[in-house]
């Protein structure tokens, strides 16, 4: 009776015997070759890393039915000039005069629509809160409001909420300047509204 080892050895030798003539052929001896000249080649690997930070963008745009921004259209720092206004005169084109605004008492106001374009990037947020405050106290008798919000103050820590669920994209807001009926304004009224858009 043959041992299993012998059987294995026998089969192995048989395989070798079959392969030996094949090994003698030139093709097997040299391996795969190119015909003619093989092109030289090389590889390289470049690892690229980056960290994407979320961002929110705020731009002012002139509204078609309002005053054109004096400067800074399509940027986040724009200038709006109402020009010369009077309560009982004709309102400049693109403005509206109200004799009973809600954000001030015993006052009248001039308003114009301005487009706010707010977009968020790389952040999960369905809407945002829009708030505003003044960089300096306005002259006596003057006040500023956006969309008939409460009159804006100079508190940067607690800015006045203008819209607590503003939709991303372009939206129109009325910027209003309120003037006391008894006020005497001998110089140009000049102030800056700082807007804050906070993603919700």
């Amino acid at each position: 009776m043959k041992l299993p080892f012998e059987k294995t050895t026998q089969r192995l030798l048989a395989v070798i015997a079959l392969l030996l003539p094949l090994a003698a052929t030139p093709a097997f001896a040299t391996g795969p070759t190119c015909s003619g000249t093989c092109p030289a080649a090389a590889t390289g690997n470049l690892t690229v890393t980056a960290t994407v930070a979320s961002a929110i963008q705020f731009e002012f745009k002139s509204d078609g039915s309002g005053l054109s921004l004096a400067s800074g259209n399509n940027t986040n720092a724009a200038t709006l000039g109402f020009g010369s206004i009077t309560e009982y005169g004709s309102a400049p084109t693109g403005t509206t005069i109200s004799t009973s605004p809600t954000f001030c008492t015993n006052c009248w106001s001039v308003s114009t629509p301005v487009d706010f374009d707010v977009n968020v990037s790389n952040m999960t947020s369905s809407n945002y809160t829009l708030a505003g405050y003044l960089s300096a106290a306005p002259v006596t008798g003057a006040s500023l409001s956006v969309n008939n919000s409460a009159a804006l103050t100079t508190s940067a820590t607690t800015p006045t909420t203008i819209d607590n669920a503003a939709t991303y994209g372009t939206a129109t807001y009325d910027v209003s300047l309120g003037l006391a009926n008894t006020g005497v304004f001998t110089s140009t009224i000049n102030d800056t509204i700082d807007f804050v858009a906070t993603p919700n």
């Binding site: 030798l13 001896a29 030289a40 590889t43 470049l46 980056a50 790389n122």
Partner: protein, 184 residues
């Protein structure tokens, strides 16, 4: 009891193969000098290499020959980017992170030749889209430039499109771009 049958079979096979083997390789036994068959027909046109380099106005690439690491830093739609040579381009669907990289294809062959550059990604990095010289990259090799000069520095533009809806969990981008250069 051991059998000599396998040894006998192997011996027979070997005896049958030796003449064919010798004839094929042109080896003559005896006193005749050995003459090898000229089987090595491969002629390599000079070894090539790929080097990633930095320039004064490009982002810094760390690494050695054949390998490079490019860190674009922190990028956002709002920009600007602190990393030298990295720029943001606003797009309707997001923003592009753009930078140039310098590539030098080395070769031992005489200068003046060109090489074809193919590129692909080792791993997909959704939702980002990566372009090299304007060619979108995927996991399948694509020809980026069919005739890149060999032996000189060449500039290439890397662009990564970051969609607006890239979430916070996807904010870390890491991918590996593989290049293969083949002499023309």
């Amino acid at each position: 009891m051991a059998s000599f049958r396998p040894v006998f079979v192997f011996g027979l096979a070997l005896a049958a193969c030796i003449p064919a083997w010798c004839a094929a390789s042109r080896v003559r036994l005896g006193r005749v000098p050995v003459r090898r068959l000229p089987t090595m027909r491969v002629r390599i046109a000079g070894a090539m290499s790929v080097n990633f380099l930095s320039a004064a106005d490009t982002a810094s690439i760390q690494g050695a020959q054949g390998f490079g690491v490019l860190n674009l830093g922190t990028v956002s739609y709002a920009g600007p980017v602190a990393t030298r040579g990295v720029h943001i381009q606003h797009q309707p669907s997001g923003f592009d992170v753009e930078t140039s990289l310098v590539l030098r294809i080395g070769s031992q062959a005489p200068a003046g030749g060109t090489a074809m550059v193919r590129a692909w990604l080792q791993n997909l990095v959704n939702p980002y889209r990566i372009f090299l010289d304007g060619v979108p990259l995927s996991q399948h090799p694509v020809c980026v430039d069919a005739h890149v000069p060999v032996g000189v520095d060449t500039r290439h533009q890397l662009k990564i499109l970051v969609p607006f809806d890239t979430s916070e969990s996807e904010s870390k981008l890491q991918t590996e771009i593989s290049l293969q250069v083949v002499s023309n």
